[in-house]
Subunit: 255 residues, 4 copies
């Protein structure tokens, strides 16, 4: 039960952007539903932290790549917890740089399945309900690869480029129906133990140190911007924005 709180659903609720967004929306009065693929212990701990801080939260493990999984999640949350007022799609599909010869068909398809098809499925399941209720917000965490395709990013960039255009088609159809769709280009490294941290392993701390103070994006700052976007009055909605550390070169500039 959410005590009639509005519901915030996070797909991809790790310890980085997803978890911090959940904390921010819980603090703001939402019941947050944290969905992630693995680590039930971590998930429970995250729920506990939020409830200990006086917030309202629940968690669910979900394999977004499985047929029906996202759709079932939406149905269950809506039936058992309450209407989802804001959803954050926070799954990525970064697999590191791989040459074409090392990018298997399976990897290329999995990129699409998680990064393009999954948000399409979430929107397909959720937007009819939001339309019926007359409002809703859909925030999509995205990446520089949605803006330009670098060497080695065949799977990731193709998936993210598709994601960006999808966000635009969703916005084109649903913004006039009072559903706010936002595509957020995270153009820098995020201090996220579950993604960048896992990828870098032992070298994560050294990497962060090498970037200097505030050289890696604080995910709680992203969460604050998500909160802001989600609460812009509808006469002044933002569809796309970029976020990067002050010392980082934007994607469009030469390094």
């Amino acid at each position: 039960m959410s005590d009639r709180k509005p519901v915030f659903l996070v797909l991809g609720a790790g310890a980085g952007i997803g978890g911090n967004a959940a904390k921010r929306f819980a603090k703001g009065g939402y019941h947050v539903v944290l969905a992630r693929r693995s680590n039930s212990g971590g998930l429970e701990e995250m729920v506990r932290q939020i409830t200990d801080a006086g917030g309202s939260a629940s968690g669910q493990l979900i394999d977004a790549a499985l047929p029906g999984s996202i759709e079932d999640l939406v149905e269950q949350v809506e039936a058992n917890i309450g209407p989802i007022e804001c959803a954050l799609f926070n799954l990525g599909a970064q697999i590191g740089n791989r040459k074409l010869a090392d990018t298997s068909y399976k990897a290329f398809e999995m990129g699409w399945r998680l990064a393009t098809f999954a948000p399409f499925r979430l929107a397909s399941a959720l937007f009819p309900k939001m339309v019926e209720r007359g409002s809703g917000t859909f925030i999509v965490t995205s990446a520089t690869a949605a803006m330009r395709g670098n060497a080695g990013q065949h799977s990731h960039a193709a998936a993210m480029g598709g994601r960006r255009m999808l966000c635009q088609t969703l916005n084109a159809e649903f913004a006039p129906q009072n559903i706010h769709v936002a595509h957020v280009v995270i153009d820098g490294p995020v201090d996220a133990p579950d993604t960048l941290g896992k990828m870098l392993g032992d070298q994560f701390d050294a990497y962060k140190a090498s970037k200097g103070a505030d050289g890696v994006i604080d995910p709680s700052a992203i969460a604050e911007t998500y909160w802001h976007i989600a609460h812009q009055p509808r006469s002044a909605w933002t569809h796309e924005l970029d976020i990067r550390p002050f010392g980082d070169t934007p994607w469009w500039n030469d390094n």
Copy 2:
């Protein structure tokens, strides 16, 4: 004297975005300096409204097209009021749609002078001081014409396209020096009596009615987003974002 309050300078402080941003920053604890070209009565009234609400404000008439005017303003504010922590460049140069044959050299140059050269002058006067202090924020209100050039927009689009690239070069040099530069693409009509209101005259109310509820951007909502941007932690800065009413077609979509 600003009682040690940080200073927020608005160039283009009419009753729309500029005035509302001033109110928002005054509410947030800044001393605001409102600069505009004409209507000293309106300017005084705006200052009074802010001070009546408990804020700190001062006003100054300035013709930004005049050599030295912006530079003098910066010097005077810094000398007499305090260090400018955040500046909003809010002057536009929209002159309506004119065919090439009806776009005089003078109009084309004036577009550049107000919309491209003036923010360059403001940055040239202000950024050295911000660099010396180690921080600062520079927000530029911009327009769709910075993203694409429509028919009849020769002067405006050329000026705004220059403005956008200037914001990128300023960001490239100064973001690593802790100066936050933001280019905000206002992609819709603003409920601004001094600009759109003047342009439409008697038809302003009918126009707003024709757009329906929340069909015209509430400038106080833009002000709120400016406040948010100005206070993002430096590990998570936004350089560019768009703002439009929920029911409006984004510039990249077909009408």
Copy 3:
């Protein structure tokens, strides 16, 4: 046998862009391989037209959506005809405007399979051979939907956005290896009986008449531009360009 002629492979060799490109490259001295999904009679006729005009051509029916089909085609052409010097990926996935509720998962996936995954498969099969030979050209016919997502284009825009980013990642890895990758944004209706013609049926002629003289893109003009791109010296390669009728509004402008 191609008499040692260089080989030009067209995937999507209908009577529009694909067929005209084949004619142009045959005229220029290539042996052209025309591959399309259906209508063996039309395919034979197209081959005959080219050979009657003194060119060298062969045809093959292929269902690009089938696993292995594109890969087998590349192997067979390379083994039996000769090294593919230039390949044109000319398959689209436009299914007309459909609301989200009317865009099935199957349709969304098929869009990706034909418009994003298929060119990835072609590149994966072909580029290693081109790299070994030290040169090659890969032209991709693309669409406005690769640049922005309009209402109703969920499947098409997501697929084309992925395609554009893929072309960039391919270019990033392979241009330095002397493989020219070009992404061509066809931003207007093409006088193509097999695609637009089929979609409009009886109304095709009326549609063309309504657009006025030269109001619909002549596919032989596109073919000429493809020829030009394919033969730019490598010190001066073009990666992306747009093509539209003189009277049409570019995608970035208001209609």
Copy 4:
């Protein structure tokens, strides 16, 4: 007299792109008018080379920054030589990288005057005549700085960003009147003795050698692409394209 040949006017006819375009159009049957700021000896030599090769050419020194200069040139050419069918605006305003503190107001204004205002003046003088004649082509050599603003490029990027938007507004108004406007993004170093050569001086040869074979753009290849664009049938016009050496990183990719 041009013996009824169509006229091709080049503003910025140095030994790089401008001169090579002139040669290409002369070879194709145009009378070419070469206009440049200085070096009458070099200009005469260029005219002689073209006429020696059987082409038709004339030259004129012009300071494009002077009021009336471009306008007079257009009038004189049209009166004394013939109708200008195609004009190439080939003046740049690159002054090298300069920090904001080192970018004088004068330099910033000169950038605009040469790179934004000058093409506006050329279009203002020429387009009415083209409209009256019912056709024309206007090609603008542009630069990466029109797409994104790098550090140190305050003057250049602001000017080029304005130029790009101007090309779009010109295209929006005049393409439907059968005037082809093309904005060509030269995204790499050009083998041009008068510009890059002068800037690098003694180090020009070493620089070219460091880029490897075909590592610097051959301006005659650009000229060939200009020729192609200028002769696209009007059902299939290109407005924007990029050109770079095969081994160079596109502006949108990481170096």
